[in-house]
Homo-oligomer: 131 residues x 6
């Protein structure tokens, strides 16, 4: 499908190619996945997105095995099939076990159902939950 062609290395401009090369170097792989090849039509957004992603997804106060599940959760709630696939693969590559994945889906499902219950009932926020 795609609304743009995925750019090969040959088709990408110099600025985009530099990002592709950085992706390969940082991830220690030859593979550049489709998301970046689609974004390559706009090298400025490609570069800004890749650079921000590295900062945000780096290990910090939260472990990558917290960050990837959160990413999957947001992508699921937003219905982004590409992101669900890429970050489920990423979480597994970083060590997410099948049992952890099962628990993750159970939490996402629990949240989704209480979200609609609270919204349908328009439950007022308790004072103690406010900052």
């Amino acid at each position: 499908m795609a609304t743009v062609r995925l750019l090969t290395d040959e088709e990408a401009g110099a600025e985009a190619l530099a990002v592709f090369d950085d992706i390969r170097a940082k991830r220690q792989t030859d593979y550049v996945n489709n998301f970046w090849r689609a974004l390559a039509h706009d090298p400025a957004t490609l570069k800004a997105t890749w650079e921000r992603a590295q900062v945000v997804m780096a290990p910090g106060a939260l472990d990558p095995l917290v960050k990837e599940p959160v990413y999957i959760a947001v992508s699921t709630a937003n219905g982004c099939d590409y992101c669900v696939h890429s970050h489920t693969a990423s979480a597994r590559a970083k060590g997410m076990t099948p049992t952890q994945y099962g628990e993750l889906l159970a939490v996402i499902a629990m949240a989704a159902q209480t979200n609609v219950l609270a919204t349908a009932l328009s439950v007022p926020v308790d004072d103690r939950f406010k900052a």
Copy 2:
């Protein structure tokens, strides 16, 4: 606001009151938050939701400090203000630090922006991401 009145202990029926009591016992608090008081109009759903929540949110292969951030992430993506407040409070009660909270918001924001980019470009899923 609310589309139903929040039921006090006096107004709740026996089945709902038993759930309120269980919430108080399990959480070791006198406080029953508004979500449960709104749900109390339908004791069967109140009971099923409370019981499922305990199973799903219990410590397991994923730590509560993974589960609560995931819950916040889903609630944010779904725009549930009540759930955002209650689970941010819950995550803090379980030890989420301000730095962790900052990182959580950054991951949610990163996911939200790549979600729309992938969706707008309709990027095809890479074969290697498929099971």
Copy 3:
């Protein structure tokens, strides 16, 4: 809140006022609710929305007590607090009982949770479900 002022009868232009009068006549009430008073800044959209709503929400092959629950369901999933309130009130005015309301919320919650499970797992559609 509101991004526009709610127009009173005195402030509304002739075209908007004609819609207000039609709302009062068709609903046999003196009350024009806030949604229409906000829309009145754009009389063409006000008129088109009101006229389409009458066609769509009229009794037909589906009973109003099917249509209103569907409206509540969509409004809940979309997180529209105004619409949740107005159509919950409307459903009650048309005879929705507390028990029916409880079942409605349970179905909405069930759908929301299986929606995220199917999306997170990216379950392929069974051939037999395709037209």
Copy 4:
């Protein structure tokens, strides 16, 4: 696509297989659809989801021909393609006519458009719509 393999009867564990058998028995069919086969990697969630679904979707104060349209509505608003297909098929199997389906889509579309109008205008909820 799918982020997990769909489990055949042979691959499913004993607990998952028992759910498959219950699905076949209750639905009086040999067919177990993909959703359950994907969920079978986590037998506890599979079982909890199937059991809750039976309670929630059973005929009650709301007819199955109210519940299925509500399910389709939520699934549509959440953009769950799998759920849209499976519950449209289910609604038809339970007797939804083409005319009813047409009216259902018209109500969903009406709700979606007024949802965004009310949200964009941030229309305050009328006092009379509050509980």
Copy 5:
């Protein structure tokens, strides 16, 4: 996929065919795209949707090159793959350049990320932003 068959001219009833013919005439093309062929099962909704679309999307105080980007933005946020494709094609046909498309995606991504930040923080609306 589709939950209904796409109707050919031969299969469409007289009322639907008249809309197909109007689409061809207004757009000066022989091609009727899949959306309308799917909607043709319900000629009344087909006609109402087509007629309203012409009014709303016509050049007015906003240029078509404002309206199409807005349409793409909404369709992206709602995760409607069909609409993303058809309106990206439409925007290009009306003159949207690759640079404009790149900027459009950047704005959509910016909005998506600040939307979740504001929602997760539940930032109160400044008085000066209220009407």
Copy 6:
């Protein structure tokens, strides 16, 4: 409401205060709106968001009076009340007329309704719309 306190100039750290000052300088106003005061708890995200926003929202191939309507459209579809208010105010400050605003809302509503129709029908994308 808010899940964090809005930081005053006195409470903000040096890095956050520098961003506040830059906002005041660039916008030529003394006022720093609530969004930035809430984000100030995480100065790194505050700075990254403000800097990216300036790049993305600057006049370019798309006029600010295209970018702001797109921002309103995404914020509406995502149900972000804060963002709807702040960007409606911003669009007006940049010259959006009431007539343009009315047309914008009509396009958003049109898109929302065709989004759900295409999703509920799961209309396959026409080959000619693919890149």
